[in-house]
C-alpha cells in the first residue's frame, strides 16, 4: 500500500498526517459524547448549535407555509362557510363543557386547598407552531417555533388539543425540539381515569401506540379505559388525557399483562401545540397574586388553557 502517494495534500505545509488528524478528531468526538451523555454538560452548547441551525429549518418551512397561505386565501366560499358552521357548533359544545368545568375546577381547587396538595395546575400557556421539518424518521421528535426566548425550558410539558403531546427535549433560542410521547425513549406517568390505577405509558416508536409494561395480569384495566396524566414525575400536571386502552392481553402464566394504548392527541397531524408552565400551586392564602396571569389562571386556565398574550 503506497501510503505516501495516497496522501493527496500539498507536500509543503502539510500539517499532521491523515491518521493523526483522524485520531485527534475521533478523540474529541468520544470526549463530547461522554460529556453529553453522562453528565449533560453540553446543554448550553446544544442550545447555541440548535439556534445556529434554525435558519435552515425556517427556510425549509417557509414554502409549506406559503402554500398554506395561498390555499387559504383562495379557499372557496362554500368550504369556508362549512368550516365556519362546524367551528361554531364546536364552540357551543366547548362552551357548555367549560361552564361545567368552571365549577368543577373551583371545587377541585378548594379540595386541593383542604389537602394542601401541591399538584401543579397549568398556570400559563403559549401556543407554538410545529415547523414542517423531518428530524429523524425513527424518532418521534418535532421542532416548534418557540424557544428559550419565550421562556421555554427543558422538560416542559407540551399539550395538543386532544391530549398530551410530549415534552421539550432541548430548547434553543428561537426554537425547541419536542420529544413525543410515542418516542421509544419517552415514558409518561399515567393513571387509569376510571379507578386511579397508576402506571407508566412507554412510547413504542409507532405513532399510534403506547405500551404499559408494568401492569400485572390481575390489575383492573379494560379496553376503552381513559388514561390521564398522574402528575407524578413533575413534568406533566395531573389530569390531562393521554390515551385510550386498545388492547389488554392476560396470560395467567406471566406476571405482567400486555397492555397497549392509543394516544389521543393527533401526533402526526396537529400543527399547533400548547406549551404550559405549571408551577406547584403554593398554598393559596400565603401567595397573593403577583401578576395578572397567576391571578386569573388557577380558575380558568386549567380548564381551558388560553394562549398568553
Amino acid at each position: 500500500m503506497a501510503t505516501l502517494s495516497s496522501d493527496s495534500r500539498p507536500i509543503i505545509g502539510r500539517g499532521p498526517s491523515l491518521g493523526a488528524r483522524f485520531f485527534f478528531l475521533a478523540l474529541i468526538s468520544v470526549g463530547i459524547m461522554v460529556l453529553d451523555h453522562r453528565q449533560g454538560h453540553l446543554d448550553s452548547l446544544r442550545q447555541w448549535l440548535l439556534s445556529g441551525v434554525y435558519p435552515v429549518f425556517r427556510v425549509v418551512d417557509v414554502p409549506f407555509n406559503a402554500w398554506d397561505w395561498v390555499g387559504s386565501s383562495f379557499a372557496d366560499r362554500t368550504r369556508l362557510r362549512e368550516e365556519n358552521d362546524k367551528l361554531a357548533a364546536e364552540l357551543r359544545v366547548a362552551n357548555l363543557r367549560l361552564q361545567r368545568l368552571e365549577s368543577l375546577t373551583e371545587e377541585n381547587r378548594q379540595l386541593r386547598d383542604l389537602r394542601t396538595a401541591s399538584a401543579g395546575i397549568a398556570d400559563r400557556s403559549l401556543i407554538a407552531e410545529i415547523l414542517r421539518v423531518d428530524l429523524d424518521p425513527f424518532r418521534h421528535r418535532v421542532l416548534i417555533n418557540k424557544g428559550a426566548n419565550a421562556g421555554v425550558y427543558k422538560g416542559q410539558a407540551v399539550l395538543a388539543a386532544d391530549g398530551v403531546f410530549g415534552q421539550v427535549d432541548r430548547a434553543g433560542l428561537g426554537a425547541a425540539a419536542v420529544i413525543l410521547i410515542t418516542d421509544s425513549e419517552h415514558a409518561t406517568p399515567v393513571q387509569v381515569n376510571r379507578n386511579g390505577l397508576r402506571s407508566i405509558a412507554v412510547g413504542t416508536g409507532e405513532i399510534a401506540k403506547l405500551t404499559l409494561p408494568f401492569l400485572t395480569v390481575d390489575s383492573d384495566v379494560k379496553v376503552g379505559d381513559l388514561l390521564v396524566t398522574s402528575g407524578l414525575g413533575g413534568i406533566y400536571p395531573a389530569g390531562y388525557p393521554v390515551g385510550e386502552i386498545t388492547k389488554v392481553e392476560r396470560d395467567a402464566a406471566e406476571t405482567f399483562a400486555i397492555v397497549e394504548a392509543k394516544p389521543l392527541a393527533r401526533l402526526d397531524r396537529d400543527r399547533e401545540v400548547l406549551l404550559i408552565w405549571s408551577e406547584p400551586v403554593p398554598s393559596l392564602d400565603s401567595a397573593p397574586a403577583t401578576d395578572a396571569a397567576s391571578a386569573t389562571a388557577p380558575s380558568t386556565a386549567a380548564a381551558a388553557p388560553k394562549p398568553a398574550p
Binding site: S5, L25, A26, P137, R141
Partner: protein, 161 residues
C-alpha cells in the same frame, strides 16, 4: 469520469447546505425511512473529488450538524462521518479509477459501516432503533450514487472558475 476541480469552498458549502435541506424537508411518513443520508453522500463525493478542500474537519462538522438536527448524542454522527471521511481519503486514489458500479458498491459498504456505527452508539447511549428499515437508506444511497456523481459533476463544471 469524475471532474477534477480545485478551489471552490463555496461550492462545498452550497452543496452541503442543499444536502442538509434535503435531509430535513418533510416527506410522507410512509416513505420517510427511504430517505438516503444526503449529507454523508455529499461528504463522500467531495472527499473523493477534492480531498484537499474537503478534509476530515469538513466531514466531522457535517456529522455534528446532523447530531444537532436529529437530537442524538452530540458527537455520535460526527464520529461516524469522520470515520467514513477517513476511509474515503485512504481509498480515494483507488476509488476514483473504479468503474461507477464498483464505486457504488464501495459506497454501499461505507454506508453500511456508517449505519452500523450509529446503531452501535445508539445502543450504548440509550435506545437503539430495532427495525430492519434502518438499513434501507444505505441501499438507497448506493443505488443513487451514479446519479449523485453525475449531478455533482455537472454542478462542478458549471461553476468551475
Amino acid at each position: 469520469m469524475m471532474h477534477e476541480s480545485r478551489g471552490g469552498f463555496g461550492r462545498l458549502l452550497a452543496t452541503a447546505l442543499v444536502a442538509l435541506v434535503l435531509t430535513i424537508v418533510p416527506i410522507p411518513t410512509a416513505i420517510s425511512w427511504v430517505r438516503p443520508d444526503w449529507l454523508l453522500l455529499v461528504v463522500i463525493y467531495w472527499s473523493l473529488v477534492s480531498p484537499r478542500i474537503a478534509g476530515l474537519l469538513f466531514a466531522w462538522t457535517c456529522g455534528l450538524v446532523i447530531d444537532v438536527v436529529s437530537g442524538t448524542v452530540l458527537g455520535e454522527h460526527a464520529f461516524a462521518f469522520l470515520l467514513i471521511g477517513f476511509l474515503t481519503h485512504r481509498l480515494q486514489l483507488r476509488m476514483r479509477i473504479f468503474p461507477i458500479w464498483q464505486q457504488a458498491f464501495v459506497v454501499l459498504l461505507m454506508l453500511l459501516i456508517f449505519q452500523f456505527l450509529v446503531f452501535w452508539i445508539d445502543g450504548m447511549t440509550g435506545q437503539a432503533v430495532m427495525t430492519w428499515h434502518r438499513w434501507i437508506p444505505a441501499l438507497v444511497g448506493a443505488a443513487i450514487w451514479p446519479l449523485i456523481t453525475s449531478v455533482m459533476d455537472t454542478v462542478n463544471r458549471r461553476f468551475a472558475r
